[in-house]
Symmetry: C2
Subunit: 321 residues, 2 copies
Amino acid sequence: MSGPSDREIILYLCLPVSFKLTILGSSSATPTSERFFSAQILDNGHQYFLIDCAEGTQIQMRRLKIRFQKVNHILISHLHGDHFFGLPGLLTTFHLLGRDQVLHLYAPAALQSVLEQLFTISATRLVYPLEFHAVDPLVQAVIYEDKHLTIESIPLEHRIPTSGFLFREKAGLRKISKQAIEGLDIPYTEFSKLQHGHDLELPDGIVLKNSQVTLDPQPPLSYAYCSDTAYHEPLADMVKGVDHLFHEATFLEEDVSLAREKYHSTARDAALIAKKAEVKHLWLGHFSARYKTLEMMLEEACPVFENTRLAEEGNTYLLTS
Amino acid sequence: MSGPSDREIILYLCLPVSFKLTILGSSSATPTSERFFSAQILDNGHQYFLIDCAEGTQIQMRRLKIRFQKVNHILISHLHGDHFFGLPGLLTTFHLLGRDQVLHLYAPAALQSVLEQLFTISATRLVYPLEFHAVDPLVQAVIYEDKHLTIESIPLEHRIPTSGFLFREKAGLRKISKQAIEGLDIPYTEFSKLQHGHDLELPDGIVLKNSQVTLDPQPPLSYAYCSDTAYHEPLADMVKGVDHLFHEATFLEEDVSLAREKYHSTARDAALIAKKAEVKHLWLGHFSARYKTLEMMLEEACPVFENTRLAEEGNTYLLTS
C-alpha cells in the first residue's frame, strides 16, 4: 500500500487552528474621515461570518480584499443604522456578482419586511437564496451550529433590543505527531482512528497506544462580540472565561454621563466586564468620532484589565487560546 | 453721506458666479476599491444640491470636507440601490449632528414610506424637518425654484423610471463697473437701481446712462445631470444648448450589447447626445467597475464630441458658460 502524500500527512497532523478577526470598521454612530462604521469578519478556518454590516462595509471588504463569495453568514446585532444600513447594498452586490450559494442572515425579525420592500422598490430580485433567521435579542440561545462551531445570541443592554454573539469552537480532534509516527508503518486510512483517540493495532500485531503518537487537541477557542451595550454586569456571566471578548468602548470615563445616557460603555466599563468575566483577552472598538486618537482608551482600560488591545480597522488579528 | 465700504462695493460689483461641481463618486452598480458609487454636489453659489446619495456618499463628503449643514436639497434620480442606499445613513447623520434646518428630498414617491419604516425599526425620530417632494419620473417639470435657479426633472430611459435633473440659472443683474463709477458721487443705496438696468440722476442733475457704468450680466448657466439612461434621442431636445451636460457612460462601445441590455449608455452614446443637443461641455461618469482606467472613455467620445471630460471623483470642477 502506498503511503500518504505529504499534503495528506499535513492535513491529518491538524495544523493549529485559530480564529482570524478582520476589523472592517471601528467607528460608532457617525463615520470619520479615518474610520468606517463598525463591522468585522470572523474566519474560523471553515466559514466567514460578517458581524454587522454598516454603510461602507462592502467598500472596506473590497479594499481589504475579502473574498465576497466566502461570506455565507451575516449577523446583525441590532437595528441602529450604523450596524445595518450597508446590508441592502451588500446583498445587492452579491446578486450583481452572480452569487448562487445560499446566504444566511441572522437579525431582528423587523428587518425582513423592510429589506423585502427595499428590494421591491429597487426592482431587485436576488439570484441567490437568502435565508432569514430571526434572532430574539431578549434571550440567550444557540442561533447557529455546525460540526466546528456554535454561535449563541446573548442579550445586551442598549436603547433598543440588541444581541451580542458568542462563538464557541467545538472540541477538536487529537493531533498526530509527525515525529512519533515516523518509521512506523501506519496506513493513512487509520489516521482518523488516532485523531478520535483510539489505540491502533499495527500489521505486526503491536498495539500502538494513542497517547504515544498523538497530542492533545488545541483547546477550543471562544470569541464574544458585545456591541452595542451599556455597562451590564449580567454580561460577565454570559461570557465567563471566553478567550477573546470584543466589547464596545464608545466613550472614555470623562464622558461617562454620555455613555449612561446613550446606553453605551466606556473603556473602563469594558475592562471591568472583562475582569469580572475572567476572559483572556479584551478587544476594544466602536469608538466615538469625538476621539481623534485612541491611546487613551488603552490608558483607561489596562490598569483594570491588563490584556487589552484596540481592535483597529484594516487589521486582521490571529485569535488563539 | 459716507460712501460704501470696500466690501459693499465688491458685493454690488457682482463677482462672476459659476457652478462648482464636486464628484463624490463615479462608479456604477458595484463600487471598486478606487471608486465610490456615483453622487455629486452642485454648488450654485447659494445652495448645495446633493445629486443621488449612494452607499459611501457621506463618507466621501467627510473626506472632501463638504460642509454637511450646507446641504439643504437632495435629489434622487431613481430607485436603484447604487443611487439611494446611502440616504438613510446620511439623513441619520444630519440628525446626530443636531441639524435644525429643513432638508428637502426630491425622489420617486415609493421611497417615502420605506424611509419611514427604516426610521421606525431603527427607532430614529429626526430632530429636523424633512420635506419629501415626490418626483414623477415620467414627466418633464420644474421641481424647484428660487430667485437664482430652477430645477427641472427630465425623463430618462432606464430599466425603472428615472429622472435627470436640469439646473437653469436665472438671468443675473447687470454688473457695476468699478472703474466707471470712480470719482462719481453715487450713493451706494442707488447701486441696486443700476443693477436692475435703470439710468440714474446724480445729485448735480446729470443723468447717468446705465450703459455708461454697467456691464452685461454673465449669461445664466445651465447644467444637466443625466444618469442612469440608455441612449435616448429625445433627451437631446430636453437638454438643448445647455452649458454642461453630465451623461452616464457606463460602458465602452466594445460592450454596447451590455449597454443596450441594461439600459445604460456607452461613451460614444453620450457624445452623440451632446453633439445632437449642441451642448458646450460634456462630462462623463457612472463608469462600470470592469474598466480599471478611463482614458478609453475619452478616446471614444472626443472624436464625436471634442469638448468631453471625465467627471472624476474627488475633484471639484468650476463650471462656467
